[in-house]
Symmetry: C2
Subunit: 638 residues, 2 copies
């Protein structure tokens, strides 16, 4: 089975380009694909707030709900901003496109770098969190956690390579099962909490934790801000849809916006519900112990079937949050590649119409991070969520600018056509204000996250993002250089380099292979020179004798045998060619005909001096040399 056949089996038959529209996602699948990350955040977001507040004692946990409501309001602001983005930029691109269009190149590259970093971390963190859920249940698996994590990345990669639609279908089940299960738990919890329908009241926890510290003034505010910032992990991934508008069935913008609303409603219901119930039950976060979600579910369901349902699908959705990264990283990379800030091949769609190269690059980098951090997501968390906050800030700043623009939009600028006929958007002042508030809030969260986690690892991200921007810049410069060099703008046919009327044929001996090369050389030029380096005694005479045996073919060819007292025959050969190319025929294309015999089977190559390919590699680096390879195939045995 060769490579192509293996690929067929793994990935499936290739899709024609014209089928692209059939590979688009409906809203149900799209929600599963894009919302797995924000929905999965509910497995830990409430706990992230509580674990900061607990420093002030279990009494302070009553602040959880107000803070959670604050986070939910922020989510509303951000979602509101992104819905406008989706309507204005139906081609997708999210923060990157918005920033490019309204804040300039560097802001857009900053947003892109921040997002790409975060997508990679999304994959590493969520897969590792999934592995932790597995190893909590099966402690024997702990020693194999890195392998399990790599296996999970491998599986998600494979599914994504098989196509967006197919992965959307497969990954829908766990997403809906998790969201449905937790919503059901919350519903039961609310019924029991308010003792409706004669339900038994909820059991309350009675654990009381003493305050570690008593904080006042600025320190107290700082702690609240940190708790708020912790809750903001619930925001990760909500921007995903804005990058992938083109993955939706038409009408793309409308479907995307609707899916975004559905996602926000589901995710925030879960978040607020969990926060309300866990504080009203006086649950206390236990470091390294049972999670708040598990505590809550166990008490509400009294440890019944529903409890295990939620546990199983929590583990699965943690793994699946990685899929959101797999959706957006390749797509964002392709936008950057299109604008020549990343290698152009990231634009290429593979057999199944997905950005296969981007998927593989993401799988590679996130696997590396998993290995470096030994699949320990606690160690990775300080790096996480910074990037997404930065991109929110830039995106909303960009949108606020767009809202203030006066009639600068032209038709055909690929924006919502309704916008082009008016000078201002309807309600632009309000929209602008909300975007400004949102930008400032997420900006503050970004600063808090960076400041509090800087020494724990956030410095890595703070370093990586500008380095990525630098990389984008350098890649762009390279492409500009190449484009200028290849450009035909100020090119006239007279500018073509002349072709020198000389052909050099390096030969090591006279055999069928070299004779064929000489024949070819004679065909294309009257001035053929066969060059042979004689580095062994007797070689000079031997070649001359054999040369004389083919008078008709060798007639008119200038045979030059160079005696050489060292074994490295490439050096004199290259020197001679260089001389002809740069002195004898300056500023002309010089042609070299390289005879090469090719053995059919791979390992047989080891049996031959690779002189021809070494020579080819040496000559390629020289200007104005045309290399003609005249192969002679050795028939396979029998």
């Amino acid at each position: 089975m060769n490579f192509t056949e293996v690929k067929r089996v793994l990935i499936g038959a290739p899709f024609p380009t014209s089928r692209e529209i059939h590979e688009r996602l409906d809203r149900v699948r799209a929600l599963a694909v894009f919302a797995s990350d924000p929905i999965s955040s509910n497995a830990y977001a409430t706990e992230a707030i509580m674990s900061v507040l607990i420093v002030l004692g279990s009494g302070a946990l009553r602040l959880t709900l107000p803070l959670a409501l604050g986070v939910a309001s922020l989510v509303l602001l951000v979602v509101f901003s992104y819905i406008q983005t989706i309507l204005h930029y139906p081609d997708g691109g999210g923060a990157y496109t918005v920033a490019k269009d309204n804040l300039g190149r560097y802001a857009s590259l900053l947003a892109a770098a921040a997002l790409l970093t975060d997508y990679v971390l999304t994959v590493s963190v969520s897969v590792s969190a999934g592995v932790r859920a597995v190893t909590s249940a099966v402690p024997e698996a702990y020693d194999y956690r890195v392998f399990i994590a790599l296996g999970a990345i491998g599986f998600i990669t494979w599914m994504n390579l098989r196509g967006v639609r197919e992965s959307g279908t497969i990954f829908a089940l766990p997403t809906y099962a998790f969201a449905g299960g937790v919503l059901l738990v919350i519903a039961i919890g609310l019924v029991r909490h308010f003792e409706l329908l004669g339900a038994s009241p909820l059991p309350e926890a009675h654990e009381i934790v003493e305050a570690e510290r008593h904080l006042v003034g600025v320190a107290y505010v700082w702690l609240l801000l940190r708790a708020f910032a912790g809750g903001c992990t619930a925001l990760t991934g909500i921007e995903a849809i804005s990058n992938g508008v083109q993955a939706f069935k038409p009408p793309e913008s409308k479907n995307a916006a609707a899916t975004m609303v559905a996602m926000a409603v589901i995710a925030m219901s879960l978040f607020v519900g969990i926060s309300f119930l866990s504080t009203s039950m006086h649950l206390v976060p236990a470091e390294g112990g049972e999670s708040i979600l598990s505590q809550m579910t166990r008490r509400i369901t009294d440890g019944g079937v529903l409890y295990y349902w939620v546990q199983v699908f929590t583990a699965l959705i943690l793994f699946l949050a990685a899929n959101t990264g797999f959706q957006d990283f390749p797509r964002l990379s392709s936008f950057l590649a299109r604008d020549r800030f990343l290698p152009r091949w990231l634009q290429n769609r593979g057999d199944r119409l997905v950005y296969s190269s981007g998927i593989l690059v993401l799988a590679g980098i996130s696997s590396l991070i998993v290995v470096v951090f030994s699949a320990d997501e606690i160690a990775m968390l300080p790096l996480y969520a910074l990037g997404v906050m930065l991109s929110f800030t830039l995106s909303q700043a960009g949108m606020s600018r767009l809202m203030g623009k006066v009639g600068t939009l032209k038709p055909g600028e690929s924006r919502d056509t309704g916008v082009t006929h008016i000078h201002y958007e309807p309600h632009w002042r309000w929209k602008r204000l909300l975007n400004v508030v949102g930008a400032i809030t997420t900006g503050i969260v970004f600063v808090i996250l960076t400041a509090t986690k800087f020494v724990d690892g956030a410095w890595l991200v703070a370093l990586a993002i500008p380095l990525l921007v630098l990389l984008f810049h350098r890649i762009h410069r390279h492409y500009e250089l190449v484009a200028a060099a290849l450009s035909t703008e100020r090119f006239y046919e007279e500018n073509l380099t002349e072709i020198a009327d000389v052909v050099i044929v390096p030969i090591s001996d006279i055999h069928r292979g070299t004779l064929r090369a000489l024949q070819y050389a004679k065909r294309i030029s009257k001035n053929v020179r066969a060059v042979c380096i004689a580095s062994r005694p007797g070689k000079h005479e031997r070649v001359e004798q054999r040369w004389a045996r083919f008078p008709r073919l060798t007639e008119g060819i200038d045979l030059r045998i160079i005696d050489y007292d060292y074994r490295d025959i490439l050096t004199p050969l290259v020197e001679y060619i260089e001389y002809v190319n740069t002195v004898e025929f300056k500023d002309c294309l010089t042609t070299i005909v390289i005879p090469e015999f090719i053995a059919q089977d791979g390992p047989a190559r080891l049996l031959h001096n690779q002189t021809a390919s070494f020579l080819r590699r040496r000559l390629r680096s020289q200007e104005d040399i045309v290399i003609i390879e005249v192969p002679y195939h050795i028939p396979p045995p029998d």
Copy 2:
């Protein structure tokens, strides 16, 4: 600093081929280079006999000396045989050449496989034994034993790459220091033993070991044979000179034979001396404890300076025994390569006129073995010395046949010219008899070694040797096939494949690079076809428009744009070329001109689709396609 400069610093300036004769070895250096293995055997050969006999109790150790004398007689027989070999085959090649000439191809390949296996093991075993000597003295180094062993192999490799003469000079000191030191110890020991010159008598050991078993009949004889076979480790390496006759200064044969005699005298003096003194002092081998050589030296020198001298140089010469492998493996490989049983590049001499490739191959394989066995030479010993015994047997069998030949030698057969004028060698009957006796004895030792150590690892060698012979055979067949395919024997100029008057230029777009390629194609043919695969919407029209901008250049060129609904553009391109090559112009050479732009700096390559090089690789596997690469160099930045 580039690769060439690094090489200059490490290896030194290249030597011209004509200097070869100056790189030859005089007898003093040659003894150091070739004899380090047999001389180093004395560090353990006596002990190898005693550790078998001790099963019968310390009383049985008195049999050590007779057995040692038996081994020494066998050495004399073998050396006698090899001196004849050297005189008959002054070009070197030892057992391989003798067997080839007198026993046929398969016997010669068997001898070569056996020797190559053994040379690899010589390196691994002796370096590991050296490391054991070091870690006995410095136990802290034990954890780093594999690194020390690899470092030692690296150092010996480096020295050998710098040239035979240079390594001979450097390695002479430890060889002579060890031999001189032990000889001095033996001399003092003899003086004290016979209480000459009023010397104090030797202290005797009084340890008495009870017999583990009481053996009679066949079992007793088998034990004696095993003890004898153990002592035969003293024979390893004595054949080395016969392979390397051409490494000697002229007169090569005479110098080689003299060096062989000197080697045999020194090695056997040490062996018999150590065996005599250690049995007369009633020393007892201690498993895992102090070696017999160390016990003997300590008692004779009363632990003085000479004791430490011998200890230090024992460790050094154990490392250096590896050098004998480095001398003979590359040389024997080059003989096999010359006869086309191994890759031809093993014949090539490097900058310093040594067989660099063979040296590196040996270093690689022996390092691998050291790593696999964790530098534990005890574990490797069952694999060792088998090969060399097999080669002795074959070599002596071959020589005995040669001695019986009647006047079959012709002048110019590269043998001692004195032989060509007579029908029989002088004393041929005696010489033949001695060779027969030697062959039978070493054959018996080979069988004993294989039988007793088979399950401990000798099976590996018993498997490796025939597999190597099979490999030689297959390599030979491949070269024969290639030679037949390239041969001009039954080749006439009319047989040359015709060249089709068509040139195909695959283009992805119209830019300076492709224009240059089209210009070149027009120059060499009237029938040029530019082929472009349009796999994206709009591409077809865009290429047509740009094509029209260069009417003069594109005039007469047939532009074929193939619309394709998949992204893999190589497939339709290769299919088209295949069609032209195998249907339109059957049995002709078809020419493909590939435009390729080349960015100066390495990492920039990652930024471009490597379509050109993928296409080249796909086309290379097809018959009768000539590939012309027309490069366009992108100037470096600034």
